[in-house]
Amino acid sequence: MTYIGKSVKRVEDKRFVTGQGNYTDDIVLPGMTYGYILRSPYAHARIVGIDTAAAAAMPGVVAIFTGKDIASTGIVGVPTGWQVNFRNGDRMKEPPHPLLVADKVRHVGDGVAIVIAESRSQAIDAAEAIEIEYDVLPAVANPAKAAASGAPLVHDDAPGNLAFDWELGNPVAEVDAALAASHHITTLDLVNQRLAPNPMEPRSAIGHYESAYDKYTLYTTSQNPHLTRLLMCAFVLGIPEHKVRVVAPDVGGGFGSKIFHYAEEALVTWCSRQIKRPVKWTSERSEAFISDAHGRDHVTKAQMGFDKDGNVTALKVSTYANLGAYLSTFGPAVPTYLHGTLLQGLYTTPKINVEIFGVFTHTVAVDAYRGAGRPEATYLLERLMDTAALELGRDPADLRRQNFIPAFDGVTQPGYQTQVALQYDSGDYHAVLDRALEMVGYEQFRAEQAEARKHGKLLGIGFSTYIEACGIAPSAVVGALGARAGLYESAQVRVQPTGKVSVYTGSHSHGQGHETTFAQVVADQLGIALEDVEIVHGDSEAVAFGMGTYGSRSLAVGGSAIVKSIEKVLEKGAKIAAHKLESSVEDLEYAGGKWTVKGTDKSIGFGDIALTAYVPHDYPQGLEPGLDFSSFYDPANFTYPFGAHIAIVEVDSDTGKVTLKRFIAVDDVGNVINPMIVEGQIHGGLAQGIGQALLEGVIYDDDAQLLNGSYMDYTMPRADDLPSFEVDRKTTPCPHNPLGVKGAGEAGCIGSTPAVVNAVMDALSPFGIKNLEMPLTPERVWRAMQA
């Protein structure tokens, strides 16, 4: 292998380091106008009246549209992509999510009107002149409070604010019995606080209707351009899919928040049709806080039983999951199929029951954010483990090890069937924990910690051993789980006549480096130079179809689709080569970019075969010209990366400030194509997970007003909040995809949060403190120490 497994420097970097990146807001089209969306300042209010007359007369204003204008055309709103029914079989409550609200706003930031003007500032000025009379109504933001009786209703037809309730695992009576028979039960009430994903590039969308062709182009900050096109055409605007091109050019980070089809995308597309000019909308950061989907927001009660030897006997989980005011694209799937199904963790827990209440609140929609459900599952399991170790007087590493599922490769040994639907593909959980303990110097740390405590210095160590389910496929499984889409991936490998190769992938890169990693795979498999491969993504006109990038799925699913197309290219190439070499396909071998007749020096290169395929003068009879293949890959199973993370913290006993001293991460993401890129993914995930533990949290007050909707108020991790990370890897290949890869995008974010919180609890154990809510700010820690 020339490229696979090597830290090849990224081919996309030159444009980014020289300021040549092409992000949506960088695009300017002839005759382009600027849209500004006027949003509700109230969490819950009836719109009594809107007066746009003064605004319409302002300089530069082209048009103003309100919710009534859109409703009058019959457009209902943006749909959700998953259906999760009630336990009793009743259909999920699925209220409409309008592009602009006509009657009643349901969260701070709900769109009420769009002003379109010749310039951005003219649109903003005019929006300020719109007069809206609101009748303000009571509101609720907390999911447990929203589900309580007497809470204000978000939607009149969703009693108790329930979108659904849902259950998975062993019958609750069996789990209750197992808990009752346990020697010890560890119980925790946990809040997995709401987070704002905050990719550095705010969302932006340009709608461009061209009447000459009766055709639309939407440029958008999307992780998922084809699905956006499908949802917008078929379910929102009712326009033919072949008349719409969706382009997601360079996208400045997503972390889940740009998977979804947003109202603004359909809105600018619709507006462009009305005014017959391009319409650009770019979110301001404070607007992003009230209009981008948020993540997490679970209120959970969890119980884990143990026998007298420390073996886990049962797990029971009950969670109120905040869905926000409307169901976003993946919203219903996150707390259920991406959370409940992960509660086996790495442990042999024989009985598991989980129930989830999906709750509407007067807040912006909640959906996938890096890890999406799996961080919430890992947080509750790993907090239970460290708490149980403390309660049982056991070493937390040792207690985990005792309960680990034994190693299995998924080839000679079967996959591991969990109690919560999934079957793990392969894993060696002892290996990652052992390596992490070796890196941290565990024995030595415990000695240092004991010595430090004598001098009043609060050092703590925390563990987290996690598993995740990646790929978000196969289609049959996700279909059975309520997905309304298939979840495969497509790839086209087009060999040009000169032997250069263009690859069209339905995956989308918004920082992951596909243009490099995918090219490494293609170059190695074809035995050609990396420079001779180009990866094209993010344009529905170029790429046949795609399901986009999320759930650490790009290489495992999208990469596998590329491999399938390469196999077809080589199969056809061999037929042409056999003809040219006057041999048979069976007698040829392909290596180093050429076909050779086995045992001879007769060979022909890939470039010659490519040219022959397009200039088929001397050519196999009956074979079509050309060398260009498409494939769709629908995997056999999810992939299951796992790892062990260890945090070491020091708590300042005077101020409560937590300093993260070291962070060790040993991850097993299967085979690795580019170690540099994988490590970068881990680093970024760690920072976000650590951010949740120590710094971040979206705060709504009791009236569902957002209190920290800007970077002045929402604490993003900064460079001096973090140490350099100590990372290593183990490799257990995925047994069911051709590259043996599992996915690395979310691992860091899933494992790190509980490790940090556990470390702080360990540091605070002399105070008898067992559980604090995140983020562990100095104030929160200091108050706990004073109590």
Partner: protein, 163 residues
């Protein structure tokens, strides 16, 4: 109200009419079509719009275009000669100091300011200097390495130049 300004950007002189309220970042992006400076926030908190004004790193969303009258501005597009990369740009590529690339121009311009004043910064000095610039992708680990790479390379180059 419209104001006439004379400003040098990446060595080129411009005479422009700007609105009194126009921020420097929008002048660079919209009028000069230099879209390397990005707008990542509305509170001067993220640093994605950082450029050099008379050699000093400035968040170009914090300054009016009118205030740049008579100034010399360097953006990420003007940091290196044509085709080549500045050692800082090279450092970000070599050490994988970027993923989505959105914060990168600001990080690079901030590093240019830092390394002028401190050619051999420690890790903690780099992390302190980066406090005003947000990155959501890298966890900063490789940004620190990128700036260390650039510092080493620039010191070597200046030694060579001195000889």
């Amino acid at each position: 109200m419209s104001i006439r300004i004379h400003v040098t950007v990446n060595g080129k002189q411009y005479a422009s009419e700007v609105d009194a309220r126009d921020l420097l970042v929008y002048y660079l992006r919209d009028s000069l079509r230099l879209t390397g400076a990005h707008v990542g926030c509305d509170t001067s908190s993220c640093g994605a719009c950082t450029v050099l004004v008379d050699g000093q790193a400035v968040k170009s969303c914090t300054m009016l275009a009118a205030q740049a009258d008579g100034c010399s501005v360097t953006t990420v597009e003007g940091l290196a000669p044509d085709e080549g990369l500045h050692p800082i740009q090279e450092g970000f590529k070599e050490e994988h100091g970027l993923q989505c690339g959105f914060c990168t121009p600001g990080m690079i311009m901030l590093a240019a300011d830092l390394l002028q004043h401190n050619p051999d910064p420690s890790e903690s000095e780099i992390r302190h200097a980066l406090e005003g610039n947000l990155c959501r992708c890298t966890g900063y680990h490789n940004i620190v390495r990128s700036i260390q790479y650039a510092a080493n390379k620039m010191r070597e180059l200046s030694k060579t130049a001195a000889v």
